[in-house]
Symmetry: C2
Amino acid sequence: MRLTVMTDYALRLLMYVGQRPGRLCTIAEVAHAYGISEAHLMKVTHQLGRAGFLETLRGKGGGIRLANDPAKISLGAVVRAIEPDFALVECFETCSRCTLSGHCRLAGVVSGALGAFLAHLEAHTLADLLQPQDAARIAAP
Amino acid sequence: MRLTVMTDYALRLLMYVGQRPGRLCTIAEVAHAYGISEAHLMKVTHQLGRAGFLETLRGKGGGIRLANDPAKISLGAVVRAIEPDFALVECFETCSRCTLSGHCRLAGVVSGALGAFLAHLEAHTLADLLQPQDAARIAAP
């Protein structure tokens, strides 16, 4: 079971930006700090902006910053916004070909497990991930 | 976020076999009933056998049956046995290259969410998925 790499990058991007409330960050510096793809980070920045978690200022001297207080950014909401789907088993999909679709209890039990997973993330915010010592450990650009 | 198709097949295979306690089932009939790959089912049958959930009798007249009472087959144990990994974010992996590895709180929060997911499945057994009406709905071979 895996989350997509985009969700992983989204969470780390928000952590990086959240550690630097006083200034605008650039995608290039986040990519450099984590050693990850700038192209993927651009895509995830766009998604986070559209979902209302990030503000993007274009042009010279521009960059990205959080659109809200870290304590108001639910980790569950971020994962829901970035993860393309939660089709844990085939019967979750609209085009399911399972002969039992709609009649069996599997979807209900798996759906309950997914609910417990997301509820745990929804009980935490970006503020829970931010610690002063982390900022020092992320290599400055 | 997805489970692998093997875990999906494993759960459905156990449901099919669990609905027919009085006889041996064949992989061919399960594949036919669900319209899924016999090759994949063979692989998953082998894994379920090795993990102690299924008994396999070889030879003419052979087949598969549950190795235990459905009420004693935890869905969490099945998912843990079949799913190849739970590397939800990069820092879960042993070869993680994240510059924050070991120092940040992300792994702890995501790990807690995974724990809640598995705990929900562990609170349910195969018996919870078995209903008389399901058996009738699966096309007989």
